[in-house]
């Protein structure tokens, strides 16, 4: 147990003090590979293809309603691997900590990493800690990389979408982005707005068991659902039609979006994924995705590389990719 209240440059010196910080994480994430404390982990994976992904997490605030940077860093990489149809197995954890960061916060983050790794069934097998001078970072940055085994029939890409596929989503959108804005700016909106930050690998497994006719899996994180669908339309050289009334958005999230002038279709998610599947299996997949999931549209040859939104009025408009980040409006 570390006694100092904040991280100092001494905690990054490679010596005894650094091992105190390492121990905060190692003690919680213990497994034979990590416990070797070697510079590299030796891993055993089954023969065949592996999926490999890396991501950096620089979120502010570090702790937010519904999660924190530790959970986000694990789930983010677990989900990226899952979206390839792969089973995530191992992840690395690299921390860049700003001098002065609270050690109790670091302990909380370590506990969150442990919780998220356990929920996802992955092992943290290697890691790194660097401490930088005050002002050189913003509290804490985390990088995770992960390895997963591609299951038979897996390895999904946007290019595999087919005309006639239905688009299914596992629940209401825009919760993570709005929870973060609300917390970061201390807007004080109540109504239980929480991030949807969670692992998706188990839900994906259920979907893959429910249907062999899945063509695309994708989690709409930054840029939101609209941007993700545009990427898929572009990769597949096909069009996508989305019914506005079918896209689930919780009432409290929609209201806050209205106040800020944000379009929920462009707000980030951290626990949502879309599944493109042959129409005959769409209902089976929807059920496998769990409560809250909805069929929101379909793939078409009619307008290649473009996403169309059929509005509540029945008119159709283009749903483009996010051009610039959304900023709160004036009135």
């Amino acid at each position: 147990m570390v006694k100092d209240k904040t991280v100092t440059l001494q905690h990054g010196n490679g010596g005894k003090k650094m091992h105190e910080v390492i121990e905060v994480f190692r003690s919680k994430l213990t497994n034979p590979t990590l416990d070797e404390m070697a510079d590299a982990a030796q891993l055993e994976v089954t023969s065949g293809k592996i999926a490999f992904s890396t991501d950096s997490f620089v979120i502010k605030p570090v702790f937010f309603p519904g999660g924190d940077i530790g959970e986000l860093a694990v789930y983010g990489t677990v989900n990226d691997i899952s979206m390839k149809g792969a089973k995530p197995l191992f992840i690395s954890l690299a921390l860049i900590i700003e001098e002065g960061f609270s050690l109790s916060s670091l302990e909380k983050i370590a506990s969150s990493v442990k919780k998220a790794a356990r929920a996802s069934g992955v092992k943290v097998v290697t890691g790194d800690i660097k401490v930088v001078e005050k002002g050189a970072a913003d509290g804490i940055f985390i990088n995770t990389s992960g390895i997963g085994v591609v299951e038979k029939g897996g390895y999904f890409t946007g290019a595999k979408a087919r005309a006639g596929d239905t688009v299914v989503i596992n629940g209401p959108i825009a919760e993570h982005g709005i929870a973060i804005v609300n917390a970061r700016e201390d807007l004080g909106f109540t109504g239980d707005i929480k991030s949807d930050c969670r692992n998706l690998n188990h839900s994906v497994e259920k979907c893959l068991k429910a249907s062999r006719n899945i063509s695309v899996l994708r989690d709409p994180t930054r840029g939101g659902l609209a941007t993700t669908l545009n990427e898929i339309a572009d990769n597949s050289n096909l069009g996508i039609d989305i019914n506005e009334t079918d896209v689930p958005v919780r009432q409290n999230v929609r209201k806050l979006c209205d106040v800020l002038g944000f379009d929920p279709l462009y707000v980030a998610n951290e626990g949502k994924f879309v599944c493109f599947v042959r129409e005959k299996d769409s209902e089976k997949v929807r059920k496998a995705m769990g409560p809250g999931s909805r069929i929101i549209g379909r793939v078409t040859k009619a307008h290649k590389k473009k996403v169309h939104l059929i509005t509540q009025l029945g008119s159709t408009r283009i749903l483009p990719m996010l051009e610039v980040s959304q900023l709160p409006r004036i009135c």
């Binding site: 700016e185 807007l187 209205d258 002038g261 379009d263 509005t311 509540q312 009025l313 029945g314 008119s315 159709t316 408009r317 283009i318 483009p320 051009e323 610039v324 959304q326 900023l327 709160p328 409006r329 004036i330 009135c331």
Partner: protein
């Protein structure tokens, strides 16, 4: 219908966005043309006012605060976002009171709030100024670029060039002003006014009521948005505004100088006037070549008429304010492909 085309102007930028997002133009009859008015506060801010804000932001120990919409609006050479990238301390706030708190927490800095907006926003800023005075926070000031809707409406209603048949009036502004000030516009210029909310049904109802009036030859003010708007409006907000500011002439992008259409500090509060505190000399702005935002703001041209639209001018590299603002008509057309 009595006429071939009925031209209705939605004054407010939020209406412009809502109309585009809901695809309302595609479901109304062809004989009704919806044109966007000057009700986007970002779009009507003059280039010189933006240049001034950028120059003040570069002053030593200044923290320039503003609403998110203003960050990317191009001045003559750069934007607030651009100058932030070069090291100026520019921050987005969600309320002017956040800027007051920021000033309290950083007594060695001069926190300036770039105030832009109509009757909806300016009372909030007036209360922030009153609060700063009460708490004796002397390192806070406001760069007032506020605008009043009615003088601009008069200018448009009286213009033969624009030839609007009726106004879809702004819900948010009317919550504060009430419906009474529209009576004059409707009577003097013979233009019906309907105050509407921002839902699809609200807007369609507003359009229907305007068309009804035009067909009957009526020129009345109707409140479709009765759940929020009264005849008198918010008297408290109006009195707060009146305590801090008084009307002054203002420069509107596209419309030029309009008498008594802006707000200046009253003497009792002039201490908080950033124009006094930072008397920067702003050169005459360089107007971007080819940009027709001025005509778009008056409803004379549509965004698609601009040769820069979607080519040299896009939301990620906007030339004019109508493309950068989240409520601008060019941004609406670009985003929703109308």
């Amino acid at each position: 219908m009595k006429r071939n085309v009925i031209k209705l102007m939605e004054v407010c930028g939020t209406h412009t966005m809502a109309i585009a997002r809901s695809g309302i133009r595609k479901v109304i009859p062809g004989g009704i043309e919806l044109i966007s008015g000057p009700g986007c506060p970002v779009c009507v801010t003059s280039q010189k006012d933006i240049d001034r804000a950028i120059m003040i932001a570069r002053e030593k120990d200044v923290v320039m605060t503003t609403f998110g919409d203003m960050m990317r609006v191009p001045g003559s050479r750069t934007s607030l976002e651009g100058v932030k990238g070069l090291g100026a301390d520019v921050k987005v706030v969600y309320s002017p009171l956040d800027a007051v708190s920021m000033a309290k927490d950083a007594p060695d800095k001069n926190v300036v709030f770039m105030g832009v907006g109509f009757e909806t926003t300016s009372p909030l800023v007036a209360s922030a100024v009153i609060e700063a005075k009460k708490r004796d926070i002397r390192n806070f000031s406001v760069l007032s670029n506020f605008k009043l809707v009615f003088p601009a409406l008069e200018a448009i209603a009286g213009s033969e060039k624009i030839a609007v048949d009726g106004f879809i009036c702004p819900g948010h502004v009317s919550v504060i002003t009430g419906s009474a000030p529209y009576e004059d516009i409707a009577r003097r210029f013979g233009k019906p006014c309907v105050i509407t909310g921002f839902g699809q049904a609200d807007i369609i109802k507003g359009i229907t009521r305007l068309v009804d009036q035009i067909n009957r030859g009526d020129n009345r003010v109707e409140i479709e948005y009765k759940r929020a708007v009264t005849n008198k409006g918010n008297t408290r907000a109006k009195s707060v505004l009146d305590e801090v500011f008084s009307p002054s002439d203002a420069e509107w992008r596209g419309l030029g100088k309009i008498t008594k259409s802006g707000l200046k500090f009253r003497d009792d509060y002039s201490f908080f006037d950033a124009k006094n505190r930072f008397p920067v000399k702003v050169p005459e702005p360089r107007v971007p070549k080819g940009c027709i935002c001025a005509e778009v703001l008056q409803g004379i041209s549509r965004p698609g008429d601009c040769r820069l639209f979607g080519k040299a001018c896009t939301p990620s590299s906007p030339v004019g304010p109508c493309m950068v603002s989240s409520e601008g008509s060019c941004a609406a057309q670009y985003r929703y492909g109308e």
